[in-house]
Assembly symmetry: C2
Homo-oligomer: 192 residues x 2
Amino acid sequence: MRYSEDHKAQTHQRIINEASARFRRDGIGATGLQPLMKALGLTHGGFYAHFKSKDDLVEKSLRQAVDTLATHCDGLFGQADEPLAGFIDHYLSAAHRASPAQGCPLPTMSAELGQRGQASAITDEVINNRLRAIEKGLPDTQAQISELSTVMLSALVGAIVLSRSALDPALSDRILDDTREWLKQQTKDQSR
Amino acid sequence: MRYSEDHKAQTHQRIINEASARFRRDGIGATGLQPLMKALGLTHGGFYAHFKSKDDLVEKSLRQAVDTLATHCDGLFGQADEPLAGFIDHYLSAAHRASPAQGCPLPTMSAELGQRGQASAITDEVINNRLRAIEKGLPDTQAQISELSTVMLSALVGAIVLSRSALDPALSDRILDDTREWLKQQTKDQSR
DNA sequence: TGTACATCAGTGAACGCGCGTTCACTGATGTAC
DNA sequence: TGTACATCAGTGAACGCGCGTTCACTGATGTAC
């Protein structure tokens, strides 16, 4: 069969989108290419017409996740007053906890990327972007802006990881709520 | 061949120790039982004389990691003045970053346990233990002790995850150093 | 206008491999008589 | 004391399965003449 002009590019993108979601939801190692292609109504043989290898797909999916999230975050930060507080609310929401597939790749993929020896410049890029965005959101009156933004990013990522792995819903909520309230307070605190 | 009285118990423990290290270093899914047994000079067939399944081993290895770490931390907290600052120094040290196999299982295993749907009461136990230990280490004069301890645990875990997945050593160091200094400052701050 | 050929996204069978798990067996030692 | 048997931690071959990857092929369409 012959396909429309950009049909292949569309399929390529569909594979990336689905992979990007599955890698975050199930993990990279636990995501098989066969089930992935099948979910898109394709056969697995066609995969290699689009990507050099699974690692190639991993990199492109991470890139995709990062870019989507960056756009999304820029939107949040572009908002009116208290953009950082809004970002914290979003990041530490029950919705984000419940949707790893659409969420930040740092809590879901970075540990496994490290273990696979597949750490790439992309990870550093996300980290640096987030750090800079947080720094910009902090009031100039806050001392130690660099230190505080690093702690904030660490706490955001750690809180999501922990809240997702806690069995007890009350404990999971506590992690999210405590961290959210405390971080938001830091965005205002000008007394130090 | 006949073995000494507690030979089997010793082998059992050796398997748990090796697995506990490999699960943390390489991930659970990426750790095969065959290579694991081979590394101990055993054949993989014997595995099932010791454990019901791989999941059984995962649970026992996590238990082992948790108990060892708890003992280790109690030691740190039993020290003279500033036990919490000492704990933070240890947790966010270059040594801990470099040795996931001997380190805290939260940054290495909790995300994967969640993805595997294998979250157990043990994870909650570690989290709660750490939270209580941190709370006890905070000065009574600190307001919001519960919130602050939650943020601290989140930041500790997040900082290790991020520092391990950063490619640039300077970025990795910055995450560790900033988070360490900032958290330690909170252990003293009595002015809020 | 009609026929022959080129294109190429996707097909589907096959590859070797390592996985978790099972199981009949080994063989050194302890026990029974 | 010597022989027959029981024990049981560990052996090693085999099981079915899904993995990542390869490759000869299909077949609908566009192009050439």
